[in-house]
Amino acid sequence: MKNNDQRSSLFWLVVGLAIAFYSRKYNLGTLSSPGPGFLPFVSGAAMALLALVVFIQQIPKKRDTLKSLWAHKKWPAVPIVMASLIAYVVALGFLGFILDTFLLTAFLLRVMEPLSWNKVLAGAAGATIGSYAIFQLWLEAQLPSGILGF
């Protein structure tokens, strides 16, 4: 594959075909009386067709590499932050909002630029208390409490 547009268009081609194929499970109906599967089928088929158009349009274009998208970027930040957010979601019911939020905020404040521990702990505490006050006390959002009861 020549460049990133071709690589991504192949991905969307597969997605589009999968959607169109799976849509047949629901009644497609007819052109004059479309069933529940009709528009999903049309959207999947359109995606696949457009992906093919993009793939073909890129044939005469310049080459580039997948690596070029992350050249000169601090790319480890992205998977690290995403992993921490996923961990937050998984631990939310167990640890409860207050503890989970404190740990997440402290981690995020420390991981990107190593701030001093005083600033990290103060920032994490401030963010946790502030968000608890706004969402739980003022807006009554019913944030989860964990095994420690808070």
């Binding site: 479309p34 959207s43 457009l50 992350w70 995403m82 995020l108 701030l115 968000s131 807006l139």
Partner: protein, 494 residues
């Protein structure tokens, strides 16, 4: 009178102020646009009355238009997309020691344009609502198709990629229970998906989480002008040079804002292009001429006002921001459309009047508080991003007290990040997601009316006119000179 009675209630005044303040802040801070801010704050508005909620959310939108100019002029980084073009001349004016005049004319131009567009909204909306009562399902289907095609026409340089995202958004909007046949579609027996994919977590992910991830991997160098910003009031010559650009920008912005798929970004570009074309010194554009700030900044604010018209009168969102508002109104149990003005006059007139008041508040906020905004710009991103992420997480959870919503948001955060890396636009996806179910209903109703014949879209005059426009927009990008203009605009935006 009803409008003032509603807008001047203390609670509504307070939320108008909060909306424009948050909107300005969002506009000032690069990385978090009005769509993401509205989606973050939407869950907090469930406790408010619908009128107060819409007043606040609307304030965020047009407030962001004001705030975006501050970073464009002082830092050469647009606070949000509609202020991209202001960087060209605004920043050059700042470099020549005229930051104050640039900021001042941007604020005054925005105020005048905002006021004019509200007048237009007041005059046109009730008239259009009356005309829209004659629209049937075929006209609605065609108009929604037009909106999708326009937004893909204007998005970036690759129309096939934008159309692909619209098709994907259409699919996402159809996930869940089909209301006509009660068939669960693409739910894979996940209870959570029975009601469909929520708009708010998707938007938070695509526009909020992904933007944070992109900012984290790039080190944004910001050179903020440290010199004291003086002379915020434009002088006589500035007013003489800016008066007609402000008027032209207001008209251009208002009418482009009404167009489904149009909006603040394209109106600012068109205004700049027009001012340069008719100027007696076009070679000076890009070196710091005040017309290059006055016109586009007026246009983007006027477009913000114009964009409310198709939403409030036809129930069709003109852009991703209006799609958010449509989602919000539906959650509050209101159906935007021709009957909205009749059924909920307090909402319509209250929102319109609060926009007047909001514009005055913005003028007052933006000029004296420039120093505060500059200080905020200097806050290191390392302190800001945990707060933005936290807000996203709690906001998503509080929609339904469900971690599933957070999971959905994070999924679309990753999708949005990759979309931006591979240069795919999110706006067509969001608009199509909102319009998808509405288009399906309109299509089915049209075919029922016509006993299964698709000719109904071509035999009804309004629908035919709109369909022909859609076809023209699909063919136009293939013309070489149109392709070149789109590529130039896409390069400037990047």
């Amino acid at each position: 009178m009803l409008g003032f009675q509603v807008a001047l209630q203390p609670a509504n005044l307070f939320f108008c102020f909060m909306g424009v303040l948050i909107g300005t802040l969002v506009g000032v801070l690069p990385g978090l646009g009005p769509v993401a801010a509205m989606s973050l704050l939407l869950p907090t508005t469930f406790h408010l009355s619908p009128v107060a909620a819409v007043i606040m959310l609307s304030g965020i939108y047009y407030g962001a238009m004001y705030g975006g100019s501050t970073t464009s002029i002082l830092v050469n980084i647009p606070g949000e997309a509609a202020s991209v073009i202001t960087c060209l001349d605004g920043y050059q004016m700042a470099r020549r020691g005229r930051a104050g005049a640039a900021l001042g004319i941007a604020a005054f131009g925005s105020f005048i344009a905002g006021t004019l567009s509200i007048l237009g909204l007041m005059l046109l909306a009730p008239m259009l609502a009356e005309v829209a009562l004659k629209f049937g399902p075929p006209e609605y289907f065609s108009l929604m198709l037009l909106g999708l095609v326009i937004v893909t026409f204007l998005a970036g340089s690759s129309m096939p990629k934008a159309l692909m995202m619209a098709a994907f958004g259409l699919f996402l909007g159809l996930i869940g229970m089909d209301i006509m046949t009660a068939t669960p579609r693409f739910t894979f027996d996940i209870y959570f998906l029975m009601d469909g994919v929520g708009l708010v977590p998707v938007v938070m992910g695509l526009f909020g989480i992904s933007e944070v991830l992109l900012n984290l991997e790039s080190k944004l160098e910001r050179e903020i002008f440290e010199t004291k910003i003086k002379g915020l009031l434009p002088n006589r010559q500035d007013w003489r040079d800016s008066a007609w650009p402000i008027v032209r920008g207001s008209v251009i912005g208002f009418f482009l804002g009404i167009l489904p798929g149009g909006g603040a970004v394209i109106s600012s570009f068109v205004s700049y292009g027009v001012e340069k074309k008719i100027s007696t010194h076009p070679e000076k554009f890009g070196t710091g001429v005040i017309e290059g700030v006055a016109g586009p900044e007026s246009a983007n604010n006027a477009a913000a006002g114009g964009a409310f018209i198709p939403l409030l009168t036809l129930g069709i969102p003109a852009n991703a921001v209006m799609a958010m508002l449509l989602g919000a109104l539906t959650i509050y149990g209101m159906q935007p459309g021709p009957m909205l003005i009749k059924q909920h006059p307090d909402l319509f007139w209250g929102v319109v009047t609060s926009m007047y008041i909001g514009n005055i508040m913005l003028l007052v906020l933006n000029l004296p508080l420039i120093g505060v905004w500059v200080k905020i710009l200097k806050i290191p991103y390392e302190y800001l991003f945990p707060l933005i992420l936290l807000f996203c997480l709690i906001g998503a959870f509080s929609l339904n007290n469900s971690v599933g919503e957070i999971g959905l948001m994070l999924f679309f955060g990753a999708v949005g990040y990759l979309m931006k890396k591979f240069d795919y636009e999110a706006a067509p996806l969001v608009l199509a997601m909102v319009l998808g179910p509405m288009m399906e209903n309109a299509l089915r109703q049209s075919l029922i009316m016509a006993n299964g014949s698709a000719a109904i879209f071509f035999t009804r005059p309004i629908s035919l006119g709109v369909v022909l426009l859609v076809l023209a927009l699909l063919i136009l990008p293939m013309l070489p000179w149109v392709k070149k203009k789109r590529e130039i605009i896409a390069e400037i935006v990047e």
